[in-house]
Amino acid sequence: MEVLREKVEEEEEAEREEAAKRAEWARTEKMMRPVEVRKEETTLTQEMLRDLEKKLSEIQIPISAELPAFTKDTIDISKLPVSYKTNTPKEEHLLQVADNFSRQYSHLCPDRVPLFLHPLNECEVPKFVSTTLRPTLMPYPELYNWDSCAQFVSDFLTMVPLPDPLKPPSHLYSSTTVLNYQKGNCFDFSTMLCSMLIGSGYDAYCVNGYGSLDLCHMDLTREVCPLTVKPKETVQKEEKVLPKKYTIRPPRDLCSRFEQEQEVKKQQEIRAQEKKQLREEEERLMEAEKAKPDALHGLRVHSWVLVLSGKREVPENFFIDAFTGHSYSTQDERFLGIESLWNHKNYWINMQDCWNCCKDLIFDLGDPVRWEYMLLGTDKSQLSLTEEDDSGINDEDDVENLGKEDEDKSFDMPHSWVEQIEISPEAFETRCPNGKKVIQYKRAKLEKWAPYLNSNGLVSRLTTYEDLECTNILEIKEWYQNREDMLELKHINKTTDLKIDYFKPGHPQALRVHSYKSMQPEMDRVIEFYETARVDGLIKREETARTMTEYYQGRPDFLSYRHANFRPRVKKLALSSAESNPRPIVKITEQFFRNPAKPAEEDVAERVFLLAEERIQLRYHCRDDHITASKREFLRRTEVDSKGNKIIMTPDMCISFEVEPMEHTKKLLYQYEAMMHLKREEKLSRHQVWESELEVLEILKLREEEEAAHTLTISIYDTKRNEKSKEYREAMERVMHEEHLRQVETQLDYLAPFLAQLPPGEKLTRWQAVRLKDECLSDFKQRLINKANLIQARFEKETQELQKKQQWYQENQVTLTPEDEDLYLSYCSQAMFRIRILEQRLNRHKELAPLKYLALEEKLYKDPRLGELQKIFA
C-alpha cells in the first residue's frame, strides 16, 4: 500500500507537471518539444484507477503553475534586429557608468537592495532600463489620453507574475516582443505604458517599488467595479430667492412650535438609531471583506507608472497601475514604497524613507537630497544651484556626488534599442488576447469581447452578485455593438426578473427603451420611443394586463395622454385568435395640452369615454384667472318617447357646468352637434387603441425576429468585414483586368511578324512597304479563310454525326428502351443546337470577313511605319 501510494504520488507529480507544461505550450503556441509519451498505466487495476481519479480530482493545481513566465527559449530571436543582440559603444559606455554608479551606491548604502539598472533582454544582452523605453505616439486617437491608453495596455496584455515576488526580474524584454506575445510581468506592462505615455506627451516614469499583494497579483476581487458605482448625484444648490419688496406675507402659522420641536427630536432619535444599526451592519460587512494579512507585506516587488503634473494639463501627480489601468493618488496605501524610477532620459534613486508607504514622498526630481540622479544634465535637475550647494554643505554624506566625478558631464542617454512599437488595426480592435477578457471584481464579474467576435454583437457583460463568493446573481448587464436592431444594452434583473433593453436611435420602430418581464402580449411592459422619429409623437406606452397608457408630445391635436381600460376577453370559440377578438374597452381617457389658439372654455383638457355606460365626460381647460373649469357630460343613450318616436336630444342628456354661462351652449342644436362630434371621436379613439394593440404585437414579433437573427451591421468603411464592398471591389478589379487584357489585344501589332523579317532601324523603301502590306493582307486573308474552313469543317462533322445517329435510330427504333430514346432525343436537340450555332457563326464570319479585311487594309494604309505607301497616294 505504501508503495502504491508513492506510485500514486509519482503519478500525480507527473500529471501536474504535464498539465503545467501543456498549459504552457498551449499558451505560447509554440510546440518546440514533442509531446511526452504518457506513462503506461497498465499495472493499475480499475479500482486503483478510480481511486487515482478521485484523488486527482481533489488536487487543485495552483494558479501560479498555470501562468509561467514566457521564457527565453519560447521566443524566436532569429528575426530580431541587430540592436537587440548587441550593444553599441555608447551603450557599453552607459553600462560602465551604470556599473560604477551601482558600485558606489552599494558602497554608500550597503543596507539597500541592489539597483535594477540593466537587466538582460530577450537576447541575453544587458540593456539599461531607460533605453528600453521607446517613446511612441500611437496612430489611434483613442490612445492619446492616459486613461484610455492605460486601459488598452491592461486589456491587451495578459499578466504574468514575477518569477520571484521579492526581486525584480532578471530579464526585461522589449515592448515589441511583449506585444507579439501579448503577455508580460508588471515591469513589461509599465515599460510599455510608459513608452506610450511619454510618446503622447506626458511626463511619465517607470517606477520600481513595492506594492500590496492585491496589486502584485492583479487581484481586483476586493475592489468595487467602477461600472457598478453610481455617479454621485450633484446636489443642486437651490438659489435662495431674495424676497421681493412686495412679496405678500405668509398667513400666520398657528401650529405650536413646541410640538414641532418635540416631533423633530423624536424623528432625529429614530434616525440616529437607524443610522447606528446601519453602521454596525456595514462594519460587520467590512470585517468580512478584509483581506488576510500578508506575510510578505512590503517586500513584494512591483512596477507601475508615475505621471507628474505639468505636461498635458495634468493638475497633480498620480500613479497608474499598468495591470488594471486604474489611476491612484500618490497617497494610496497599496503602494508601499519606491526604490527607483526612470524615464527615457535618466534614472533616479529614491533617497526618502518609505516607512509611511508613499504618502510622504515628494516628487521633486530636481532635489538631489530626495532623488539621486544617475546622469547629469537632463532637464530634471532644475533645482537652483544655491540650494544644491546648501544641501551639499549640510549633508555629511556625499551620496549626491556619487557617480558624478568620473562621468562625462555632457553624457546623455543613448537612443532606445527597441524598435518602434506598432499595433496593427486588427490587434487594436481585438484588444484582449483572443479578443476575450474576464475581470473579477468585488461582487461583480466583467467580461469583455472584441467587436464582431460574438455573432450577436455582445462586447461586454457585467454580472453583479449578491454575495462575496459570487454565487447568487443579482443582475446582468450586457452591452452590444454594431447590431442592426440598434440594441445597445440589455439589463436583466434576476431578483425581479425584469428585463430592460436600451436602443440607440435608428430602430425601425423608433424604440428607445423596452422593459418587460415576458415577451407575451398583454403583460406588464413599458416601451419608450424616440418621439421625434415617430409621426404620432408617442413617447411612452405602458401596458398592464388590463390597461394601456400612452404619452404623447408635440402633436398637432395637442393630445398628451391616452389611457384605456379593458375588460377580460369574452370567451369565444377557440377559432378566434387575439387579433380577431380584441379585448372589449371599458373606458378611454384622453388628456390634451392647452391649445393657445382656442379660448380656455372651449379647449378640452380631458375627455373620458365610458363606453360601457354610454357616457362621455368632458373637462375643459381652466382659464388663467379662474380656479374652476367647465365640465360637460353627455349621455349617449338613445331613447324612444311615448309615441315611439326617437328622441333626438333632450336637455337632460347633457349636463354641463360652465364657469361663464354662455347663451349658445344652452341650445340643443349646439349640444347635439357636440355630441355627434364626440361620437365620431369616440370611434376614432377606439380605433387608435386597437391599432396600438396591434402595434405592440408587431413590435414584439419584430423583436423576436431580431433577437433570433441578431444580424450585425458593418460600416461601409470597414473594408475587411464588409463582404458586399469586398465583392464589389473584386468585381471592379476583375473588370479592370479584363479591360487591360482587351487593351493589350487591341494593341496587338499585326505588322510585327513581317517587320521582324527586315533589318531593324532602317527606313522602308516604297517597294518594301508595298510588299509588306501585301504580305500582311494575304496572311490575314489566309487566316480568315482558314477560320471559315474550320467552322465549315466542324459544321459538316456535326451534320454527319447527326445523320449517322438518325440512321441508327431509324434502324433500331423498335428495339430501343424508353431511356435510350430519351437519350437520343436529347442528343438530337443538342446537336441541332450546335449545328445552328455553327451555321450562324459561319454566316456571321462570311459577313464580317470582308469588312475585317477592309479595316485592316485601312489600318495598314494609315500605319506610320508604312508611311511610304501614303506618299504615293498623297
Binding site: Y246, T247, D625, H626, I627, T628, I648, M649, Y672
Partner: protein, 523 residues
C-alpha cells in the same frame, strides 16, 4: 344677364326672406328638426346665401354679427351698404350686380376674399381697411386706368387677382405691368404666373418700379421718424417732463412777452439774456433728467409690485385648484357609491355627507380667498404709501428746482430794471449814444412806465414758470391717484369675480346633489 332681369320686380330684403334663407341653409335632418324646434338666431349664422333674388338694396343684415360668408351674387344691387355690422366677414361675393363704385367696406377688416365680378366699377379704391385681402376678383368691369394697379400694392397678402374683361386688359402691356407692380401675386386671371414671366416683367419695368419703391421707402422712413419722435415725446410725457430738455420753456416765456422782447434791444441786455437763458436751460435739463430717472424708479416699483401680486394670486389659485381637484376625486367616488346604494335611509345619509363635503369645500375656498384679500390689501397699502412718498419727493425736488428758475428770473429782473433805469437816466440826461428802436424808446417816457413794462415782463415769466410747475404737479398727482384707484378697483373686481366663481361652483354641486335626491325619490 342681370340686364335682362331689370324688367323684373325688385325684392326687398325683409325678415321673412332672411328667415326662409336661414332655415333652408341651416342644419338638416335630425339637427334640422332640433333647429326648427328651437329657432335659429341670426347671430349664430355663419354663412348666408342670397343669390338670384332680385335684391336691389342690401338691408336688414345687422343682426348677423358672426357671419363669415355672404353671397349676394346675381342680384341687382346698385350700391354697397348695410354691411357695417358684419365685421367677422371673411368671404363676400357681390358678383353680377350693378355696382358702380366700391364703398361701404371700411369695417370689414377680416375680409379675405372679395368678388365684384361683372359690375360697373371704373376705379379701384376704398379698400384700405381690407388688410387681410387675399383674393380680389374685379373682372368684367369698366376699369380703364392702369394706375389702379399701383393702388393694389398696399395689400401684402394679395395673391389672386382677376381683371380680365376690363378695358385695361386690352392693353398689350397688361400682364407685364401687373406682374411687375404686384410681385407677390401668384394667380392672375385664374392662371398661375410663371417665374419666367415675372422675371421678364421685372426687367421691363425696372426703372419705374425702382422709383416707386424709392418713394415708398422714403415715405416709410419719414413715417418711422415721426413715430419715433411721437414715442419719445410720449415717454417724456409719462415722466411729466416733456419739453424740458431744451429752451422750450424759456422760449415760451418770451413768446407772449412783447415788453421783454422790446427791452432786449437795450444795450447790455442781450448778453444778460444770453447768460440767463443758458443758466435757465441748465436747470430745465436738470429737471428733465431727474424726471426721467424718477419715472424709471416708479416703473420698477410698479413692476415689482404687479409681479408680486401676480405671483401671490397664482399661488393662491394653485391652492384653490388643488383643493377642488381633491374634492372632485372624493366627490366622484361618493356619487357612484350613492348610485349603487339601494337603501333609502343610507342614501339620505350619504347625500347629507356629500353636501357637508360641499359646504366644507366652500368654506375652504372662501377662507383661501379671504386670506388672499387680507394679504393683498396689506401689500397694496404698502405700495400706495411708497408710491405717494415717491411722488411727493419728486414734486418737492421739482419745486425746489423751479424755485431756482424763479430766483434766476428775479435776478434777471433786477438786472434788467437796473439797466432800464440807468438807460432812462441817460435818456433823460440826453447822453444816450446808441439808437433805440422806436417802440422801445416809447417805453422810456418816465420811470413808472419803464418799471411797469419791466414788471409786466417779469410777471409773465413768473406766470409761465408757475403754470409749468402747476401742470406738472397736478398731472403727477392725478396719475398717482388714478393708479392707486385702479389697483384698488382691480383688486375688488378680482375678489368679486372669485367669490362669484366659487358660489357658482358650489351652487352647481349642490344642485347636482339635489337632482340626485329627487331622482332617487322618484325611482
Amino acid at each position: 344677364m342681370n340686364r335682362l332681369c331689370d324688367s323684373m320686380e325688385p325684392k326687398v330684403m325683409d325678415d321673412d326672406m332672411l328667415k326662409l334663407a336661414v332655415g333652408e341653409q341651416g342644419p338638416q335632418e335630425e339637427a334640422g328638426q332640433l333647429a326648427k324646434q328651437e329657432g335659429i338666431l341670426f347671430k349664430d349664422v355663419l354663412s348666408l346665401q342670397l343669390d338670384f333674388r332680385n335684391i336691389l338694396r342690401i338691408d336688414n343684415l345687422w343682426q348677423f354679427e358672426n357671419l363669415r360668408k355672404l353671397q349676394l351674387d346675381n342680384n341687382i344691387i346698385e350700391k354697397i351698404g348695410g354691411l357695417e355690422n358684419l365685421t367677422h366677414l371673411v368671404w363676400l361675393d357681390l358678383s353680377f350686380n350693378n355696382i358702380e363704385t366700391i364703398e361701404g367696406l371700411d369695417t370689414l377688416v377680416n375680409l379675405e376674399d372679395l368678388s365684384l365680378f361683372n359690375n360697373r366699377i371704373s376705379k379701384i379704391d376704398s379698400l384700405d381697411a381690407l388688410v387681410k385681402l387675399q383674393v380680389l376678383s374685379l373682372g368684367n368691369n369698366q376699369i380703364d386706368n392702369m394706375m389702379n394697379i399701383v393702388y393694389l400694392r398696399r395689400f401684402q397678402c394679395l395673391r389672386t387677382l382677376s381683371l380680365s374683361g376690363n378695358p385695361i386688359s386690352e392693353a398689350e402691356d397688361y400682364k407685364m405691368f401687373i406682374c411687375a407692380y404686384l410681385p407677390d401675386l401668384v394667380y392672375l386671371d385664374f392662371r398661375r404666373i410663371d417665374d419666367h414671366t415675372k422675371e421678364l416683367a421685372e426687367a421691363k419695368h425696372q426703372y419705374s418700379i425702382d422709383e416707386l419703391k424709392h418713394r415708398e421707402n422714403l415715405m416709410q422712413v419719414r413715417l418711422q421718424d415721426e413715430r419715433a419722435r411721437q414715442e419719445e415725446l410720449e415717454k417724456h410725457k409719462t415722466a411729466f417732463v416733456e419739453h424740458l430738455n431744451g429752451s422750450f420753456l424759456f422760449d415760451s416765456m418770451y413768446a407772449e412777452d412783447s415788453e421783454g422782447n422790446k427791452l432786449s434791444y437795450l444795450p447790455g441786455v442781450s448778453e444778460l439774456l444770453e447768460a440767463y437763458k443758458d443758466k435757465f436751460v441748465i436747470i430745465c435739463m436738470n429737471i428733465f433728467e431727474y424726471g426721467l430717472k424718477q419715472q424709471e424708479k416708479r416703473k420698477i416699483e410698479l413692476d415689482t409690485f404687479s409681479e408680486c401680486v401676480h405671483e401671490a394670486i397664482q399661488e393662491n389659485q394653485e391652492q384653490g385648484k388643488r383643493k377642488i381637484a381633491q374634492f372632485e376625486e372624493k366627490h366622484l367616488s361618493s356619487l357612484s357609491a350613492i348610485r349603487e346604494e339601494s337603501e333609502l335611509p343610507n342614501i339620505e345619509k350619504m347625500i347629507l355627507e356629500c353636501s357637508a363635503d360641499v359646504s366644507e369645500l366652500f368654506n375652504e375656498l372662501m377662507m383661501l380667498e379671504m386670506q388672499l384679500v387680507e394679504q393683498l390689501e396689506e401689500t397694496i397699502n404698502m405700495f400706495e404709501r411708497n408710491i405717494v412718498d415717491m411722488v411727493g419727493l419728486f414734486i418737492e425736488n421739482v419745486q425746489s428746482l423751479m424755485a431756482q428758475c424763479r430766483d434766476l428770473e428775479n435776478h434777471h429782473h433786477e438786472k434788467l430794471l437796473e439797466i432800464s433805469i440807468s438807460t432812462l437816466e441817460k435818456i433823460v440826461k440826453g447822453d444816450l449814444d446808441e439808437d433805440l428802436p422806436d417802440d422801445l424808446r416809447a417805453l422810456f417816457v418816465d420811470k413808472d412806465t419803464i418799471v411797469n413794462a419791466v414788471g409786466a415782463s417779469h410777471d409773465i415769466h413768473l406766470l409761465k414758470i408757475d403754470n409749468r410747475e402747476d401742470e406738472l404737479v397736478t398731472r403727477i398727482n392725478s396719475w398717482c391717484t388714478r393708479l392707486v384707484d385702479k389697483i384698488h378697483k382691480d383688486e375688488i373686481m378680482r375678489n368679486r369675480k372669485r367669490v362669484k366663481e366659487i358660489n357658482q361652483y358650489i351652487d352647481h354641486m349642490q344642485s347636482e346633489l339635489d337632482n340626485l335626491e329627487y331622482s332617487d325619490i322618484l325611482d
